[in-house]
Symmetry: C2
Subunit: 586 residues, 2 copies
C-alpha cells in the first residue's frame, strides 16, 4: 500500500503515473473507509481525489499554498499530508482528525480553519497580497466547488483576485451540484462552458479578465497533471475549470448525489445506512406541515439557501411544492433580502436556515428585513448544543446575534404543538418579521392547550406558580427547566416554572410579579450566555434585591465538544443547577 | 416652475420633450438647493436626474416598482413623487424628508428603507417572485450604481434574477465611480463595455444570460426614454447599462467626484464648504500615524472597503501609501477575509470600517478571522450615538455584535494617546484578532502615561479609587463617567472611576475587588445596552449583593434621533445618572 507510507506530498514526486493512479485508488478507498465508519462528506471528496493527487504532484506544498473552500473536498488532501491514519485507522484515529481544513490539526499543510462556504478565494487573496508585498514567488491556489460560487463572498473574492492582477490559481471543481442541485444564473454559464469545452461566446470568468482553462476529464489524473503544469507559476489571475463527477468511483453516491453529499455511517458494499431512524424530526414535520398549508395558501413560500433538507424539503417534496419552494443556492444574504421583498409583495415566505449559517446574513436581517418591518418568517434550525459541534459549525450564537437586532421577534417554542402554533401565527400576522428557534433537543409533545395568538410585546407563560425560586427555561432548555423544578421539589422547594417564549426582550410584567415572593430567578438557555437571553434578565433585576442565576454556555471557541462535558463545564447539568440554587438561597 | 406642481409621476405623462428637459433642469436645481443648504449626497443624485425623469415618464409607478440601491441616487425620485418641498422649502421642510428611500415617508412610491449598499436587486427579486406567483404584470425595476456592484449581495441578486428567468429590469447606473474610485475586476468589464458601446467580446452580464442594452448618453433624457421604452414590459431578466456623469451639471462635483460624493452645506455658486474645520479628527490622525509607521514597516497594510476616508485615506494619502493601502470596493466580507489571509501570510493589516457597516461581515469576522486566530486589526470608526443617525446607519450595535463573537478582543480607548498605544499593541502582537472602537465623542488628550502593553485577558484600569459607588465608563462614554464622578463628589460621594478598556469580557479580579467597599456599579457604554457590555457586568454580580445600574441605549429602531433627547429618554444625561445612583443607594 502506498498511502500508508506517504508522510508528505513530497513522497509523490518520485512516482510514475501508474503509481499515482494506485495512490488515487487507495485514497478513494481510504475516504470511503472513513465515511462508511465515521460519517462525513462523501460525494465531493470522492470526486476530488484525482485533482488532489495531481495538485500535490505538480505543486510544492507547504511552500505553495492550497486553500480549500467549505472543506467538503479536503479529505484526499488530508490522506496525502500525514493524516492517512484518520482514514485507515480505528474510530479513535478517525475522531482525532476533523472533517474540515484545520491548521490546529496540520499547521503546515492546512492554511485556514474552514467550514462555511465561499471563502477560499477571499482568504487566498490575502496570502497573495502577502506574497506580493514580501516579494516571494509561491503559488497560491484556491479551490472552490461550483456550488460555493453562489455565495457573495466568492464573488467578492473573484472580483479582488482579478483586481490584484498577479498570480493566483482558482480551481473551480465543477461537479454540477451544490449540496443539492445548483441554483443561480451562473450555472447557465458553467453548463455552456462544459458543453462547449470551455469555448462558449460569453465566458463569465474571461469577462472578469481571468486567464481560463477548461478540462472535461476532471477525474483523469494524467490530464489534470498536464493542466496544472500549464498554469504553475503563472503571474496572472487564472481560473482552472475542471469537470468532475460527484461521488466518482462509488456507484450509490454517483446515482444519488444529493443523498450522498454527506452521510452517516453506511455499509460500503451496498450503501445502506447503519443509522436507524430515530423517530420524529422537525425537518420532516415542518416540510409536511408546509406542504399541507400551501395547498390552501398559494402565497405561502418555503425559502432555503443551499440546504433544502434543513427544511425537510427533499427532492420529492421540492417537486410537490413547485413554485412555492425556492432555493437560492448557498446565498443566505439573497435568501433574507428576497424573503423581505416577497413579504413586501404580499407573499408569506418562511426561510429555514441552520443556526450556524444565519450569521452569514446579519446585515440583511437588520437592514433589508427588520428596518422594513416586512413580515417574513425565519425558521432557525439546530440552534443549541445538541446539534453540530465542529468549531466551524457551532450553533450557540443565534440568540445573542438575533436578539441584538431591533425590529425582530425571536420566539423559542418548547414543544411540537407550540412550535406549529407559533409558526402559524408568525406566518399569518402582517406587522413585522418573526424568527423561530426550532427546538433542537428532540420532538416533545404536550397535551396542554397552546396559545394560538401571540403578542408583539413579550408575554412569558407561567407554567407552574410556586415561590422563592423561579426557573425561566427557554426553548430547547425548557425540559431541563422541568427537570430542575422536579429536583427542587425533592428538596422541598416549590419553584415557579416559566416558559418565556420570547427571547428578544424581557416581559417586565411577569418579572415584576415575581418580586413579591421570589428570591432567585434561574435563567436557562441552550446557547452562548454572553450577550444572550439570561443576561437581559440579570440586567432587569440588577438594581433591586432579586438574585439571578444565568444558565448558559460561556462564550468561547469550542471544537468537537461533548455535550455532557460542555454542560458540566458550564454547570448546566440538572443536579449542578440545583446545587447552585441551594447555595444561593441558603 | 413645473416641479412645484408635480404631485406624482403621472403629471409627467402629458409633457412633451421640452417640458421634460425643463423638469430635469428644475430637479437638478432642487437637488443642488437641498444639498447646499442641508448637506447630502451630491454627485450620484446629480448624475441620475435625467434617468429618473425618463423612468417616471416611461414606467407607471406605483404600479411599476422602482427599487433604489443604497439610496445615493433617490433624490430626483423624491422630487418627482410629492416631496419637492423637501428640496425647495426651508430647513424644517428639508429635515422632514430623509436622505434615503423610505416607505415610512412615502408608502406609495418608496418600496424599501435602504441605506446600505448592494441590496436593490435582491430586494427586487422578492417583488418579482411575488408578481409571478400572483400572476400580475407590473414592471420590477432595480437601480444600482456601478460602485454597488462590488458587494456580494449584488452578485447574489444578479445570480437569482438570472435564475428566475422572468421579467426584471436592472438599471446599472455607471458613473465610473464608487464613493471613491472603483476597485474590483468587474470594472475592467464595465470599461470594456463602455469603450465598445456595449459590444465587447466577453460581456459579464450576457455571460449570466441577461438581455443587455447599453446607452452611452446616460444624461440625455430623450435617449433614455427611448431605451426604457424598448425594455418596458419585458418578460426576460434585462440589464440596462447607462453611462452617466457623476455630478452632472455642477462643475465642482464633476471636477472632484470623490469629494462631492457627499457634502456638508456649501456655497452653490463656488462649491465652497460652509462647515468650518472642527479641529482634530481620528480619521486624519489615524491616516497620518499609519503613513509614518508604514515607512518603517513595509508589512503594515491599511485596508478599506469602499470608504477610504473612514480611515482618513484621502486620494493623496492613498497615493503615498501605494501598495500598503488596499481598498476592496464596497465588499466588507472580502476586506475581512482578505485581512485574515494577509495576517496569516505575515502582513499586519488594519481594516478600518464604520460601525454601521461592520454588520455586513459578521460571519467573516467569526469564521474567516476569529476561529483562525489571525492577528488582523479592525479599526471601528464612529461607533456610538454622536455620529450617523438615519435608521439605515445607526452605529449603536457594534458592541453587542462583536462581543458575541468568540476569539476577538474589542478594546475601547478613551483618549487619543490611549488609542494609539492600543493600536500599536494590536498591530505588533501576533496571537489573535483585535478590534478597536475608535472614540466618537471628539479627540480627547491625556497627560497621564498610558499602558503600552495589553493583556489578552481583560484588565480594567482603576482611574480613581473611591468607595460605595463605582462608575465603569467605556470608550466614548469615559468622559461622561468623569462628569458623573465629579457630580457625585458634589453630593459627598467619592465614587471609583474605572476605564474598562476591554468590551469583550469582564475583568473578574477588578470586579471582585469592588465587593469589599462598594454597593453599586454603574456601567456606561455609548451603544445598545441589550446584549452589550453592561449586561455582562450585571450578570457577573447577579447572584451576590452588588447592585448594577446598566447605562446604555435601549434596543429599538431609531431614525434621525437627537442625541440629547436620546440620552434623556435612556436616562443618560449626567444629572439623570446621578439621580438614579442616589435613588438606588439611598
Amino acid at each position: 500500500m502506498y498511502i500508508e507510507k506517504i508522510q508528505s506530498p513530497a513522497d509523490l514526486k518520485a512516482m510514475d503515473l501508474n503509481a499515482l493512479r494506485i495512490v488515487c485508488d487507495e485514497t478513494r478507498a481510504a475516504v470511503l473507509n472513513r465515511v462508511s465508519k465515521h460519517g462525513g462528506h462523501v460525494g465531493p471528496n470522492l470526486g476530488f481525489v484525482e485533482a488532489t493527487v495531481a495538485l500535490h504532484y505538480v505543486f510544492n506544498a507547504p511552500t505553495d499554498k492550497l486553500v480549500f473552500d467549505v472543506s467538503h473536498q479536503c479529505y484526499p488532501h488530508k490522506v496525502l499530508t500525514g493524516r492517512a491514519n484518520g482514514f485507515l485507522g480505528d474510530v479513535d484515529d478517525m475522531n482525532a482528525i476533523s472533517g474540515y481544513s484545520s491548521p490546529a490539526e496540520s499547521p503546515v499543510y492546512d492554511n485556514f480553519e474552514v467550514g462555511h462556504t465561499s471563502t477560499s478565494i477571499s482568504l487566498a487573496t490575502g496570502l497573495q497580497k502577502a506574497r506580493d508585498i514580501k516579494g516571494t514567488t509561491e503559488n497560491i491556489i484556491a479551490i472552490i466547488g461550483d456550488g460555493s460560487l453562489s455565495g457573495g463572498e466568492a464573488f467578492e473574492g473573484l472580483d479582488e483576485a482579478s483586481e490584484l492582477g498577479t498570480g493566483i490559481i482558482i480551481v473551480v471543481n465543477d461537479n454540477e451540484m451544490s449540496i443539492a442541485e445548483n441554483h443561480g444564473g451562473i450555472y447557465k454559464n458553467l453548463r455552456a462552458l462544459r458543453e462547449s469545452n470551455g469555448k462558449c461566446q460569453h465566458n463569465w470568468f474571461k469577462s472578469w479578465d481571468f486567464e481560463y482553462k477548461y478540462l472535461e476529464e476532471g477525474n483523469d489524473v494524467e490530464k489534470l497533471i498536464e493542466l496544472f503544469r500549464s498554469v504553475k507559476d503563472t503571474c496572472k489571475p487564472t481560473v482552472v475549470h475542471i469537470h468532475t463527477e460527484k461521488g466518482h468511483g462509488f456507484q450509490p453516491a454517483v446515482n444519488d448525489k444529493e443523498s450522498w453529499h454527506w452521510g452517516a455511517p453506511f455499509n460500503p458494499e451496498t450503501g445502506e445506512s447503519l443509522m436507524k431512524s430515530s423517530g420524529e424530526d422537525y425537518q420532516t414535520l415542518f416540510a409536511d406541515w408546509m406542504l399541507r398549508e400551501m395547498k390552501n395558501d398559494p402565497y405561502l413560500i418555503a425559502v432555503t439557501a443551499g440546504t433544502p433538507t434543513a427544511a425537510g424539503f427533499t427532492l420529492p417534496k421540492r417537486q410537490e411544492a413547485g413554485a412555492q419552494h425556492i432555493d437560492m443556492g448557498i446565498a443566505e444574504e439573497q435568501a433574507c433580502a428576497m424573503a423581505s421583498g416577497m413579504a413586501k409583495g404580499g407573499l408569506r415566505p418562511v426561510w429555514t436556515v441552520y443556526s450556524t449559517f444565519i450569521q452569514r446574513t446579519y446585515d440583511q436581517i437588520a437592514q433589508d428585513l427588520c428596518i422594513n418591518s416586512n413580515p417574513a418568517v425565519i425558521n432557525v434550525m439546530w440552534g443549541g448544543s445538541g446539534t453540530m459541534n465542529d468549531i466551524t459549525h457551532i450553533c450557540l450564537f443565534d440568540i445573542p446575534m438575533l436578539c441584538s437586532i431591533p425590529g425582530l421577534i425571536y420566539l423559542a417554542p418548547t414543544t411540537c404543538e407550540e412550535y406549529f402554533a407559533m409558526l402559524k401565527w408568525a406566518i399569518r400576522q402582517d406587522k413585522m418579521p418573526v424568527a423561530l428557534r426550532v427546538p433542537s433537543n428532540g420532538v416533545y409533545h404536550t397535551a396542554e392547550a397552546v396559545d394560538e395568538q401571540y403578542a408583539y410585546e413579550p408575554v412569558y407563560k407561567v407554567v407552574h406558580k410556586g415561590s422563592k425560586v423561579a426557573v425561566v427555561a427557554a426553548g430547547s432548555f425548557f425540559q431541563k427547566g422541568e427537570n430542575v423544578v422536579k429536583l427542587l421539589a425533592d428538596k422541598g422547594i416549590d419553584a415557579t416554572l416559566i416558559n418565556p417564549r420570547y427571547l428578544n426582550a424581557v416581559d417586565a410584567k411577569t418579572l415584576n410579579a415575581l418580586m413579591a415572593d421570589h428570591q432567585l430567578v434561574v435563567t436557562l438557555e441552550d446557547g452562548c450566555k454572553d450577550g444572550g437571553f439570561g443576561e437581559r434578565i440579570a440586567s432587569f433585576y440588577s438594581t433591586i434585591d432579586m438574585k439571578v442565576l444565568v444558565g448558559g454556555i460561556k462564550k468561547d471557541l469550542y471544537d468537537r465538544f461533548d455535550q455532557t462535558q460542555l454542560f458540566r463545564d458550564n454547570r448546566l447539568l440538572d443536579e449542578q443547577i440545583v446545587e447552585d440554587v441551594l447555595q444561593i438561597i441558603k
